[in-house]
Symmetry: C2
DNA sequence: CTATTTGCAAACATTTTGCGGCAAA
DNA sequence: TTTGCCGCAAAATGTTTGCAAATAG
């Protein structure tokens, strides 16, 4: 399965990086405005392809409007409110491991953290990719 | 708003901890089997309440069957396959910051990681909780 | 050329909600 | 007693899919 480089795919990735961590719908609205022929299915399909190609991850679930995606590959972390779902970047703090320290600096109340490693499992690593 | 302690809520939390990081549906199936009167709406409602009370988080999105939840509060991390969505715990490795080191040990191909801090934003921290 | 990608719309899956009755505090 | 919570089923929301036409390589 050889992937083709369509301008649609570039547009999805490009806009995703610009927006930070938008939902599929938010992405669609912006792209539809720029390129009226862009369809929702194309956005969804390309998000999945970008994810499988390790060019994006879905990071913040359960927020209003569905899954949020993220194509920024540098170390950067998120703060997510358990109550209202607000989510924003915490940059340059990635050395800090102390929740209390980050709580104080960002004026939020952090109660836990999770770290997820993304990649390919043994089975999928063997198959051709991209 | 004073929350009541129903046995349903205890059952959801208890089963969630036993199962690790199940989807709402997986949780419902197990609970329905133990307690036939348990409804899907109760599972969904209580998962949201547990989340708002910082007793659980939704961690792994985009996996088949919807959002996955997690009520284990000790430091523990996840490996998530970008291709097939398989997800499993990586325990006791939380001191390791090197993706390559973990890749080797677990025989997977890790290409990135994300760390999310969960808590309450300034606005929500002020409001009464639970 | 040929296989992948697209737009559209319909299908599907997941989650939320309204309501009347039940039950915790 | 007072509200929050329950089960049920319908509604809403979010995502995927089948198909024929378009297009990248």
């Amino acid at each position: 399965m050889v992937r083709r480089n369509t301008w649609h795919r570039y547009a999805v990735k490009d806009e995703l990086m610009k927006l930070g961590h938008p939902t599929a719908e938010e992405l669609y609205i912006v792209l539809k405005d720029k390129y009226p022929e862009m369809s929702r299915a194309t956005v969804y399909r390309n998000l999945k392809i970008l994810e499988e190609s390790a060019l994006a991850v879905r990071v913040i679930g359960g927020v209003e409007g569905g899954e949020r995606f993220d194509a920024t590959m540098e170390p950067h972390y998120h703060f997510i409110c358990l109550k209202c779902g607000v989510a924003y970047d915490i940059k340059d703090e990635y050395r800090a491991t102390d929740d209390a320290e980050i709580s104080k600096k960002h004026n939020v109340e952090i109660v836990m953290h999770r770290k997820n490693y993304y990649g390919y499992c043994e089975k999928c690593a063997k198959k051709e990719r991209q």
